[in-house]
Amino acid sequence: MTFLALTPIQAALLALTTTAIIIAFYFLKLRHRRVFISSSILWRRVLDERQSHSLWEKLRRIISIVVTTAIALLIAMSLARPEIESLTGKNERVVIVLDTSPTMNTQTSDGETRWQHAVKRAKSLLDSGGPTTEFRVLDTAGVTASAFTTDRNEARKLIDTMSPKSADPQFPKVDGISQVYFVSDGVAIHNTPSFVKRISVFETANNVGITAFEIRSMPSTPLGYEAYLEVQNFGPPTEAGITLSAAGGQRINKTVRLGTEETYKDVFDLSQFAGGGIRATVQAKDDALPLDDVAFAYLPIKRKTRTLLVTRGNRYLETVLKLDNYVDLSVTDPANYRESANIDAYIFDKFAPVAPPSRPALIFGTPNAVWLKPASGEIQKPEITTWSEDHPIMQFVAVHDVAIERAARIDAQNLTVVVASKQTPLIVVSEKPKWVMLTFDLESSDFAFHVGFPIFIENVLAWFNRDQLALKRSPGIIDVPLGNAQIHTIDGKTVASEQQLGRTVFVANEPGLYDGTQGDTRVHLAVNLANPTFSDVNRSVFKTDRAAAAQQYWLRRELWFYMLLAAVMLIGLEWFTYHRRITL
């Protein structure tokens, strides 16, 4: 017998002290009430007869002491949390790691999923071990991490709340002191520490899944978009039906024959599609993982941008804007500039109004205006050293060879520098109010002659107020680059979200199309699994370890529970017998 709460010496001292106290108390003379009787003749006869004839009379005092001492010892020793390894098992810590990777949604031959099998195995692990065994439940998505507990029901409830996540799985950090069991299909996570006992729920399954789906603009065609789709077969050869559908009713159907591990890649022209959400689906016989059978994208809605060019005359700009089919251009002189409600965007050429316009503006040169950064000097022939290819206005735009004669020196504090030389920012962006400023004018550079210039203008106008392509995200925790944004599903349902460092975060465990809106700003989010790693549901690398089966014990709780139970029963028995004067 060992004790969890006390050392053996402390436990022995506790037992001795308790016994001594009880016996001392027992032998303390109970002050009997003195009662005078006329004669003790009859009482003496009765008592002598009873004492001389009853062995119980002689024993009951001893029995009372023994019972009372046993009750006290049971209570006292239960505080020491004793355990007997043969009855309750040894005190150990067990960590159950449940694989919550997307492949755990794969259906098995019995109609259940790998996840349901994993839950059963995890619960059977909870049934094993002794009553002192402490359990901790973790997942590979980093969402669930319980503390160690002996409360199996609590652990069971926690497991019931868990489900596979589409986020990238990672094996959690666990120490080697605990017994670690990893219940997984062995597909998404291959490498586990050597001390981890693996329990496999893997079973081969057929799966055809979408491994890539996106809508991308065609640089050659303003506001022209195409859809790129990859479908891969991870099972035996099969036929797969591919469908692209839009909310407006447009649809593309295609049937392809796919061999084992064969990937079908195709680009679909979406010129016939109205803007909005595009859904791609793939159907195949006996498909075991529905999660990768659907993917979403957003096709920007095409409409002309009403643009007012305010210039004293700029042939390059006017030409570029007039050639753009999606620009409804108006040109005016700075002297005649008036802000209009019918304008979507302004382009100021070496001019800036006194007050900032209510609509976004593209500004060339560094005109003097209170709402703009004032020029603090001039830089001759600045060389472009850095530019941000990730910014939407720089998509497909190469500026490394743009020659600039001179540019204004400005302080870019609180602005986003998109293109810069060592001496000064060259293109800066203000998010609020929304404007883009080039610190050089077109006449003092050859930017207008570059092939990227029309694309740059198109990107700027698109960034100002045109529909954007959806941001691509994987299922799990979705990060939206907007603060205080409202998140909605494609059906218009609001999704709970949180604010983190000026960004909005929400959870999307299933593929889908989401909208994030904050004031006039709106972003689309296409959440797709689209990952060959998850779609390849047969790529398991491990089987159940032999040592993974845990021993079961007869007692389901710690010994102290049974000791207290016994103490309560003895107290009840003692109470019953005492009040009937069976015991003292």
């Binding site: 009787i37 006329s38 003496r44």
Partner: protein
């Protein structure tokens, strides 16, 4: 003397005694003559027999008419009239000072009542208080007027000491040889056994009547819990735990004890009456009369 004793024999009590006296006369009409004739021939008025005159006889009792008829001296014999000695042995051991009212008070009342009736019948009444020995005794009294003397004597009787009836009776009887009615009023708690004590009285040919007094607490004790029982006579204590079974055993033992006394009395044709202190004493006196032994 306890405060209760002051009012032990009050006017109310005297009225009850008179009432008992009248009732007893009605109950035993024709037999309640004061005189008790004995076989002894003496100087009484009632003619008993004749016998031949012998020298020395009192010639005043010669039947001269018979001498004239028969020419023989014949002596007329008359029955000797004799009063009945009644000995009231009142147990005044410490055990009698128990109960509410105490057994001693009850015994005094019963004794007083019986004494009054005895005195009214011109019997010679003796009252003896005993415990370990004869504690006090009252000289023989006769006539109703002596009742107050008896009251005083009974009032002065105090409880104390251990009971030893055998020694007490033996002492008294060896000093007083005259046979009579011995009325023993006691709780019968004697460590030496009451049978041997009654044997002494039987040995001296007394007519014996036992009035066994028990208090309600003795008959049906209402004890509970952990107790130290202290014997009021010996002061010997004993710690016990009262259980229902123990109380049942005690009651059985008490009944057995009473039965043993009663069977002893029955065996030797002794009068026996058992009473509790909550039983009206006048009822008890009548019960005694109904037994027919007290008055002859």
């Amino acid at each position: 003397m306890s405060t209760a004793n002051v009012t032990l024999f009050d006017d109310e009590f005297l009225k009850k005694l008179e009432y008992l006296n009248i009732i007893s006369k009605r109950l035993f009409a024709g037999r309640l003559r004061a005189e008790r004739r004995t076989r002894k021939r003496g100087t009484g008025l009632e003619f008993a027999d004749y016998r031949a005159y012998v020298a020395g006889d009192d010639f005043r009792h010669l039947d001269w008419k018979a001498y004239l008829r028969l020419n023989r001296l014949i002596l007329k014999l008359f029955e000797e009239e004799e009063d009945l000695p009644i000995y009231f042995f009142v147990d005044s051991s410490q055990s009698m000072n128990y109960g509410d009212p105490s057994k001693l008070d009850y015994a005094r009342r019963v004794c007083a009542a019986l004494c009054y009736i005895g005195l009214a019948n011109l019997d010679r009444v003796n009252v003896i208080s005993f415990a370990g020995g004869v504690k006090s005794e009252m000289p023989p009294q006769r006539g109703k007027g002596r009742i107050f003397k008896i009251f005083r004597f009974l009032t002065d009787v105090t409880s104390g000491g251990e009971t030893n009836a055998r020694a007490s009776f033996k002492t008294y009887c060896t000093e007083t040889r005259r046979r009579g009615l011995a009325v023993v009023i006691s709780d019968m708690f004697d460590g030496n056994g009451f049978e041997s004590a009654l044997d002494i009285l039987r040995h001296f040919r007394h007519d014996i009547f036992v009035i066994h007094i028990a208090s309600h607490e003795e008959i049906n004790p209402r004890l509970k819990g952990e107790l130290q029982l202290v014997d009021s006579e010996s002061n010997i204590s004993r710690e016990i735990t009262i259980t229902p079974s123990l109380l049942t055993a005690y009651r059985a033992e008490f009944a057995k004890y009473c039965d043993s006394i009663e069977s002893y009395c029955g065996k030797y044709q002794l009068g026996y009456v058992r009473t509790a202190t909550d039983f009206p004493f006048e009822e008890l006196v009548l019960k005694v009369f109904r037994q027919g032994r007290f008055l002859k």
